[in-house]
């Protein structure tokens, strides 16, 4: 089967039932998406498929339709995505393990709602963080929204 990941086409010869997460991590050596729960509960494995946040640990790789973007694919060369830059500015990550998924969920949120309210953030940001970085995530999303708004 063929997959497009971060703009690169891959030929993959694996069990189509294998979740996308493990195809990315173990077969293609793309380590940004993390394994947290295996049941779509925590969001550490979040990737974007055609811009939609998808929990890759429960999506069989054979069912993937669309272009996959992982955390490795959102920066423009050396230039970080506004969400990544805001994350650094606010020093969001502590252990950092959930942050690939958090950042992609935030990118997807800002793509659909450029100026999200607190309720929008509550509804979109369902990923688990055991370090409790939520208040900083919220602040960083609002800042990233400003940065993106200034650009457009």
């Amino acid at each position: 089967m063929q997959l497009t990941i971060n703009g690169i086409r891959y030929d993959l010869n694996s069990d189509p039932e294998m979740p996308l997460l493990w195809a990315l991590r173990d077969i293609l050596d793309i380590k940004g998406p993390k394994f947290g729960c295996g049941v779509g509960e925590c969001g550490a494995c979040t990737v974007l498929i055609d811009g939609e946040p998808i929990r890759s640990c429960i999506l069989p790789v054979g069912d993937v339709e669309g272009a996959v973007t992982t955390i490795e694919g959102i920066a423009n060369g050396e230039n970080l995505h506004a969400v990544q830059a805001a994350w650094l500015e606010h020093q969001v990550p502590q252990c950092g393990y959930c942050q690939s998924g958090q950042i992609l969920a935030a990118v997807a949120l800002l793509n659909t709602i450029p100026d999200p309210t607190d309720v929008d953030i509550d509804e979109a940001m369902t990923n688990l963080c055991r370090c409790g970085t939520y208040p900083k995530i919220r602040a960083a999303i609002k800042d990233a929204a400003k940065m993106l708004g200034d650009k457009s």
Partner: protein
């Protein structure tokens, strides 16, 4: 006031000074340094100055931060200690964890494990702390835990930076033929003001490293600090926003295999029978091997990828033996109950005569309450995993571990090889909270590596395996009894706490030995050692004999005793007819309680405590001194439609001296969310000898929509430096329970609070 001033000056001279002065015997051995582990592994051209600093020919400066980076920012703060004195900026350096070595012992962790309250400045307490510091070195513990990393490093890592800077300047002085004192240094560049000539550290590193290290080091006064005391960007921040391959689970090696484990769901039991046929038929599964270790018994699955290994584990058909403990939570709780009502195992830290005082108190002036908390899992975001390769009798490990030396020894013992033949590479960690100080994940990887003909294997646990094979925060139950005078003062407090012994459990699984002698202070910490002026007080610990693995969990005993103690003070204040804040302040009358009083007053001001709140809202207050840090919190809840929303938390922390304020505040915030998560449905229960919860759908933690606004301020009244990683957790749950009482009139004495009330 004069006494506090003295303590401040002395303690800021450094913990190392006080410790060495506390004990004459064995002074020489104590001062004699351990071998520098960097010398053995230095590359061609590396100039090694001490165990913390090396400079390569290309001017790359590496600082060793030998503690687990699991989110608490310790690599940044430890590197800052060295960089401050070395006179380089944090973006000029590389930070590495370094190898397991005796040189990296953690003395501070042992020191505060002693029996005396943190603020006890008596001669006996000082001598005990001094002695235990020396013991810490002889045990050569390289542990990350007890919120101790920065305290331990505060003097020695600054000295390491200063010592390196001094010989680098001296080498430049020799090269130029001038007096070292005439040279200036900034950002790693040495300048001769006489002629404007400059040399980088890399230029003189080789010559400097062979010079005699200085015997007299003077550290920069705080007023001259450029890095310390200021918030720094994390050294690993960039990797953490770009999906960097920094965690144990990201390790990738040539020719690597993948595995997982299926261990007995009944602790201490083994398989009676196993049918591996279906598992071996799973596409990609290569082998199923038995795993027998001190931490558990079960099977390892060796496969071509992690997904295959997980499917193989699921396809195993195993009949397990019976558990050596009561099979159901109700029966386990009955053991706890029985322990609480039996003779205590030990008593410590009391004074006066509690029994006499309570006997003389009118029954109407006695307050009694019973509290209980369940077992809890750590639920780190990154499930347990480890990578191992056994080749030519030598084992190499890649571990996200809080205790590399302990893992190294345990794996050597398991495989029957010498400890020198075990190499440990410590990775960054997706959360630790005490869980990653355990050896089980390392042992299982080592056991599987023995079956792969020299190929490396990464062994990843499923979330279900992780949840069901934790070393849990113990279950605990307590009875608090207080006597109140006619004027509303607490005249006696009698505390009985029943819980499982962490040390008994830990020593058995880690060293196959019994617990260390003496009372286990952690059973009482958080109730014991709190700033409270009561003339008659007694603390008694009751050990519940339960062979369910229990271990260190963010703030350990403080996580439940803080809840018990601070909920109880709230109840006593109610009976005394006093405001909870005013009551607490009136019971903190010793000079040493000054930081607690100030923290409470400040947090109350931030929260506008006592102000008019709209109907349906309530505020609760709590203070816990743990790991040397005084933390006061106010939680505000709003109740509507019978559901409780945690709206806001105000927090004031006093750690004496804070090296990175933003990171410290982030740790408080993190500790609060970790603490409050307990209230929201967290519990580990048992049925048929097995843990009933398995994944985040039945053992969850706080999410974004539940997370309150959190405001943190810092004070510096405390005479000694305290920790950051854990002290934010203990006061959060009692402040929440007290807020719910203020809003609803309902006292909830059992965790999780969600059993008694609905959260939004």
């Amino acid at each position: 006031m004069s006494r506090l001033g003295t303590i401040t000056r002395r303690s800021f001279m450094g913990l190392g000074v006080a410790a060495a002065g506390g004990l004459a015997v064995g002074y020489y051995m104590y001062r004699k340094p351990y071998a520098n582990p960097l010398l053995a592994m230095a590359s061609e051209g590396d100039a090694v100055f001490n165990p913390y600093v090396k400079i390569a020919q290309d001017n790359v400066i590496t600082i060793i931060a030998p503690r687990a980076e699991m989110g608490q920012g310790v690599h940044t703060t430890l590197a800052a200690l060295v960089a401050e004195e070395l006179d380089v900026s944090l973006d000029q350096i590389k930070v590495e964890h370094g190898p397991p070595a005796k040189a990296y012992f953690n003395a501070a962790m042992i020191v505060e494990g002693g029996p005396h309250p943190f603020f006890d400045e008596s001669f006996i307490a000082e001598v005990t702390r001094g002695t235990m510091n020396v013991v810490g070195k002889f045990l050569a513990m390289q542990m990350t835990g007890g919120s101790s990393a920065t305290i331990d490093a505060y003097v020695k890592m600054r000295e390491a930076g200063a010592a390196a800077r001094m010989v680098l300047i001296e080498a430049a002085a020799i090269q130029w033929g001038v007096d070292a004192a005439s040279l200036s240094v900034s950002a790693g560049i040495i300048t001769n003001p006489a002629d404007g000539e400059t040399l980088t550290y890399g230029d003189v590193a080789q010559a400097a490293a062979v010079l005699e290290p200085p015997t007299k080091i003077s550290l920069r006064p705080r007023a001259e600090w450029k890095i310390l005391g200021r918030s720094q960007p994390r050294v690993e921040g960039f990797e953490k926003v770009t999906g960097g391959r920094i965690f144990g689970i990201d390790v990738q090696l040539p020719d690597m295999l993948y595995g997982t484990v299926k261990m007995s769901p009944r602790f201490g039991a083994r398989a009676i029978s196993v049918d591996t046929s279906a598992a071996l038929e799973v596409n990609g599964v290569l082998d199923i091997v038995p795993v027998e270790t001190t931490t558990g018994s079960g099977f390892g699955i060796i496969a071509e990828n992690t997904w295959a290994a997980f499917q193989g584990a699921e396809a195993l058909e195993i009949v397990w033996g019976e558990a050596p403990y009561p099979a159901n939570t109700d029966d386990i709780r009955a053991v706890l109950d029985k322990a609480l009502n039996a003779k205590p195992d030990f008593e410590m830290g009391g004074k006066g005569n509690v029994e006499k005082e309570l006997a003389n108190t009118q029954p109407g002036n006695i307050v009694e309450a019973v509290y209980e908390v369940p077992y809890l899992a750590h639920a780190t975001m990154e499930p347990m995993n480890a990578t191992a390769q056994l080749k030519d009798g030598k084992l190499e490990l890649w571990l996200g571990t809080q205790g590399p030396r302990i893992a190294q020894g345990a794996c050597a013992q398991l495989l029957g090889i010498e400890i020198e033949d075990v190499t440990v590479n410590t990775t960054r960690m997706g959360g630790g909270f005490g869980r990653r100080g355990e050896i089980d994940f390392s042992l299982y990887a080592a056991a599987l590596a023995a079956k792969t003909d020299g190929r490396p294997i990464k062994v990843t646990w499923t979330r279900e395996e992780d949840t069901q094979h934790d070393t849990y925060r113990p279950i605990a139950k307590s009875r608090f009894k207080a006597g109140i005078s006619e004027t509303g003062e607490m005249t006696a407090m009698d505390v009985d706490i029943a819980t499982a012994s962490i040390m008994t459990s830990l020593m058995a699984r880690t060293y196959s030995s019994g617990p260390p002698p003496g009372p286990e202070k952690i059973m009482l910490e958080g109730a014991l050692g709190q700033p409270l002026t009561v003339p008659n007080v007694r603390f008694r610990a009751h050990k519940a004999d339960l062979q369910i693995p229990v271990g260190f969990w963010r703030s350990v005993g403080n996580s439940y005793n803080g809840f018990f103690h601070e909920c109880f003070l709230d109840e006593v204040s109610e009976h005394a007819g006093k405001d909870p804040l005013a009551f607490r302040l009136s019971m903190m009358n010793d000079d040493e309680h000054h930081p607690a009083r100030e923290a409470l007053k400040k947090v109350a001001a931030m929260a506008n405590w006592g102000g008019n709140l709209p109907a349906g809202k309530g505020q609760g207050i709590a203070h816990t001194l743990s790991f040397g840090t005084w933390v006061a919190q106010v939680v505000q809840v709003g109740v509507s439609d019978d559901t409780v929303k945690i709206e806001k938390v105000w927090c004031v922390a006093d750690a004496g001296l804070v090296l990175d304020p933003e990171n410290f505040k982030a740790q408080m915030m993190s500790g609060i969310v970790f603490g409050l998560s307990q209230a929201l449905d967290q519990e580990i229960t048992f049925s048929d000898g097995e843990v009933e919860q398995s994944n985040f759908y039945d053992f969850d933690a706080m999410r974004m929509h539940q997370c309150p606004e959190i405001e943190v301020e810092l004070l510096e009244n405390s005479p000694r430096m305290g920790g950051a990683g854990e002290p934010g957790t203990p006061p959060s749950t009692p402040a929440l329970a007290n807020a719910i009482f203020a809003a609803t009139g309902q006292r909830i004495r059992t965790m999780p609070l969600s059993h008694s009330i609905d959260f939004a």
